[in-house]
Symmetry: C2
């Protein structure tokens, strides 16, 4: 089912009213935004875009710093959209003034190139120049919508007009398509905001030209995009490109682009994605590896990469409402995206551990044989600090994932406490999701059809409309009901603990199980289970059908599972001719997103099944 | 129980009469010896020791080539001991003549130093100079015993006298102890052969001085040997040193050396040894890693290292007859030692895979992130070709592992078809070991006590003496009976298939089982079980108590096990919310030593237990 009229319902039409995401949004607004701001100020990122850096000073501008600041500005704009904020606006306005004052005469703006090597603009494909432009465009669109102040957007439109001329008309740049994709999806956003078809044409140009004359697998320029069938190269670049492909398939009704997007998505989700929704298996090139090649200890799983898969999935939901898209966005959002930020909102992971053996991080391999293992602790800022502002802008606008509509049917993809105004109808949703599966919906206004997602993990559910129990059969991942003014709906997605297994071609997971409850993937940390000998967490055997208690006091406000499992009573030798007897052991599991919030700890996502 | 009078019974007093080892010895004599000879000739190793290399020619002599040739000569000498062989002797004699003609005036001999950098002799601790001397000493002792031609031994004694003077008396060398241990154990051999106490003193000097003024962990000179408690550094060097420690504990009755040897042995066997008996976990420094740190895919497990553990264990058996020593020698000999040679006797592994994922060998990691994975196929010669001659000399003299005696009790450590003459008694042993556990013994001559090892893997056995069933209780791994002239003994070590498990601190093996039968460790190769999709061998689930048929036609003369196991019926996605159903599958397992004889194949030693 493809439906040309489907479009996303966005932040402007939805207010988050409580629950899980309201807390995250408040935490980010109060803590994370200012912590990222402080760290970016400390490291010179704001000074750079304000053109305060002078030769000889520390913190020399870097090629991708504009994008770091732009994502922070975009996040601030989303908060301003809901509640104008003089402190955020003052910072953004000063940057906009700087852009106006410091841009080149022809509209070009880049704080690195203008200051450090102005003679080299548009000459180095690998230098993130158009990537920075893309993020500034996204920020400008968000700020325009939030405040009605047009200057930022006008400056960026001038810049885009220059890019259009240089790349499409004159073709005078030293390269043909961006080395780091991002501007393509930003141009579609700009087109949707302004209605100016030229921006769509430029996005399409970049996507169509990709892999035609240039030939780099690392940034998906190895073959034309319509011939790409497996996700390869740098994973963030890949999914940003795939986002644009999906967007352009939508806007231009191009079936070949839609096919390419679907094929690439299926390749990722069926064969190159961790159970947490993380992608980009290897540090080498921050890249995808082959099918089923999902090593845990050395997983790269960059926060931005994981998020980029959710962004791609969200765009596919707009193209066609199939449950697997929203399922995937959900898998990422509640697991490998959220793991990127500490529970206190202050620090961030670049690479998200899929398993931790602290021995490995400490092994004295020499340089030739060094094995990458992710950092065991989040930090407040890193030299390549793309992830923190990506996290904050996404949490600020997370309701963008909630609804799409074609005017007749409203699809609910994500369950978030909110009030939404959609095509003359109002939807108020109340839920403790993702911790409980009960969702209450009050519908008002113009009658519609409402399609509610039944997640792939959900094996049974109940549905009540105005007090009447209804038996509904999901189709493509959704149940659809007619709704009228005043309707009260109640959906209960049953959420028992379930074990996920992996195909044995996933070497590290074969024969093991991963514990999940609803959309949450659970992990086992040594700190809860084997503080004396962390490695022993690999020997825990669990029963899927046993009783799992939810504890709320182990980590404040985070549901920790406690159950009776088994371990062998080993006595300290490596090998046993006769296995030691199994003994009962109380085992605690925590949501993956809450991992590594209590110091360094060994951690596993994949454990053993008792009575397999 | 320590018994000063215990000594090993050696090749000179034992004739192998058939069975497993007779076949290996014949194969090595006919094929391997000449293949190694040819490859060593091709690569210049024989020319080097014959001083035929001249500046500008290819195959420039290398610092450790003397040791390669010496081990080949030692092997040839063992064959000559049983049956004089003009072809072997001609080669050895020509080398002995070369040593006589080309040694320095003071007795020094080293084909690398004399030709390439004579000014630098005894100046570079890391350059294998005394290691080469040690192997030449071992060869000379063997040749002296085999042929009664004394020249080789006399030349080496001259050289040892020089080493004694330079290192012990004048202390004029630029280093104090060898960078690569080996000469220490060779000097004990020379002492035992000649009775000359000076050679024992020199061995003791090298061992006692180790770690006193020099400080290198890599070659076990980090602390004095009596303070060493964990096996560290280069694993071959380590176990050669430990051999000498055990030998010297024996010869000098030094309890502190005995304690050190036992402690180091226990550390290896309980915590740093693979199920195949392989040691030296990492390619980085060809070294030991930490306790329980036994990664399979990246295991180094050099053939020489594995063998060196067996040599160490054999020496401990002489020091004290505890079953764990001979158990360990057996584990190595039938598994990670024998895996070092192809079934056709022509090619060799340096590093012995403990698991193979052909994907890993082919992954395009860049140089900074390269992961070592062992070669998937044996080759005929390698640039560092220490292993092939080490394999042949050990097979030629494998009965050195069979017996020790103190004149009253004869301990049988290994079950080999042979006739032995020990202290006026004769023992004829007939067995299909290691493939069957039935062992028949005919005893003649002077009455003795006979102690027969009950292997650690053996949970039940029966024993018959002259037709009478006797119930015996093993003590320290042995059952002991009085034997008289004409006694016929029959020991049946029951050999069902057994699963070995690993402590969960052994990350890669946790929750898995390794299939064994008697002393043989079995592995699963993709070629037998999942040729279409090799990775699926990781999903095989076996039942310990099910029926295991022995097939002799899959690999000629090698007992392959066939049983009914289970696999999941996966459909090709990486992750499953609901596990696919289990299906029956006929599974074949092969002895580990026979792995990789039918082309490259994925291989696992650790598989899943059904109904765990």
């Amino acid at each position: 089912m493809s439906n040309d009229k489907i479009h996303a319902v966005t932040l402007k039409d939805i207010d988050v009213t409580g629950g899980f995401w309201a807390e995250k949004m408040a935490l980010v607004r109060e803590i994370s935004m200012w912590n990222v701001y402080k760290r970016f100020s400390d490291t010179g990122r704001f000074d750079a875009i304000l053109f305060k850096w002078k030769d000889g000073m520390p913190n020399k501008p870097h090629i991708f710093w504009d994008s770091d600041v732009a994502k922070w500005m975009e996040a601030a704009a989303y908060y301003c959209l809901k509640q104008r904020d003089p402190k955020f606006e003052e910072i953004i306005d000063s940057i906009v003034d700087s852009i106006e004052a410091n841009r080149m005469a022809d509209g070009y703006f880049n704080s690195y190139y203008e200051v450090i090597e102005p003679q080299n603009r548009f000459t180095k494909r690998g230098n993130h120049e158009l990537y920075c432009a893309g993020h500034l465009i996204e920020a400008a669109v968000a700020y325009d919508e939030a405040t009605g102040k047009h200057k930022f957007l006008e400056l960026m439109i001038d810049y885009v007009n220059l890019i259009y001329k240089v790349f499409m008309v004159d073709q005078s740049a030293a390269f043909r398509t961006p080395g780091h994709e991002e501007i393509e999806l930003a141009l579609v956003k700009l087109y949707r905001h302004t209605g100016e078809k030229r921006f769509l044409d430029l996005a399409l140009f970049f996507v169509n030209e990709r892999g035609v004359t240039e030939n780099e697998l690392y940034n998906q320029a190895h073959v034309p995009v319509r011939e790409q069938t497996t996700a390869v190269g740098h994973s963030v670049r890949a999914c940003y490109l795939y986002c644009a492909i999906a967007d352009l398939a939508k806007e231009t009704d191009d079936e070949s682009l839609k096919k390419a997007a679907e094929t690439l998505f299926n390749n990722i989700v069926e064969r190159r994605m961790y159970v947490t929704g993380a992608i980009g298996q290897t540090c080498v090139g921050e890249a995808f590896m082959g099918d089923f090649d999902l090593p845990n200890l050395t997983a790269y799983a960059e926060t931005c990469a994981n998020l980029s898969l959710a962004l791609f999935a969200r765009r596919l939901s707009v193209l066609e409402p199939k449950g697997v898209y929203a399922d995937t966005a959900e898998r990422v959002l509640y697991n490998s995206f959220l793991s990127g930020m500490s529970l206190d909102g202050r620090s961030f992971f670049y690479s998200n551990m899929q398993e931790k053996d602290l021995r490995d991080s400490r092994r004295s391999y020499n340089d030739r044989h060094r094995v990458f293992c992710p950092a065991p602790q989040r930090v407040e800022v890193f030299s390549c600090s793309c992830c923190p502002p990506n996290v904050v802008r996404t949490i600020a606008s997370v309701v963008d994932f909630q609804y799409t509509t074609d005017g007749e049917t409203i699809w609910c993809h994500q369950y978030i406490c909110s009030k939404a105004a959609i095509d003359g109808s109002g939807i108020e949703m109340r839920t403790e999701y993702p911790y409980e599966g009960r969702i209450a919906v009050s519908f008002t206004g113009t009658a519609k059809k409402l399609a509610l997602r039944i997640p792939g993990w959900c094996q049974s559910f109940s549905f009540v409309q105005n007090g009447d129990v209804k038996t509904l059969i999901p189709k493509d991942g959704y149940v659809t009901v007619a709704v009228n003014d005043g309707d009260e709906l109640y959906l209960d997605l049953h959420m028992p603990v379930r074990f996920v297994e992996a195909d044995p071609r996933v070497w590290d997971d074969a024969g093991r199980v991963c514990v999940t409850r609803g959309p949450l993937v659970y992990c086992i940390e040594a700190v809860d289970n084997a503080a004396d000998d962390p490695l022993l967490i690999r020997d825990i055997r669990l029963v899927e059908s046993s009783d799992y208690k939810v504890l709320w006091n182990v980590i404040p406000d985070v549901p920790v599972l406690e159950t009776e499992g088994y371990v062998r009573n080993w006595s300290g030798k490596a090998l046993y001719d006769i296995a030691a007897p199994l003994e009962k052991k109380t085992v605690r599991l925590i949501p993956y997103f809450a991992m590594a919030n209590r110091g360094e700890s060994d951690m596993v996502l994949w454990t053993l099944r008792a009575n397999a």
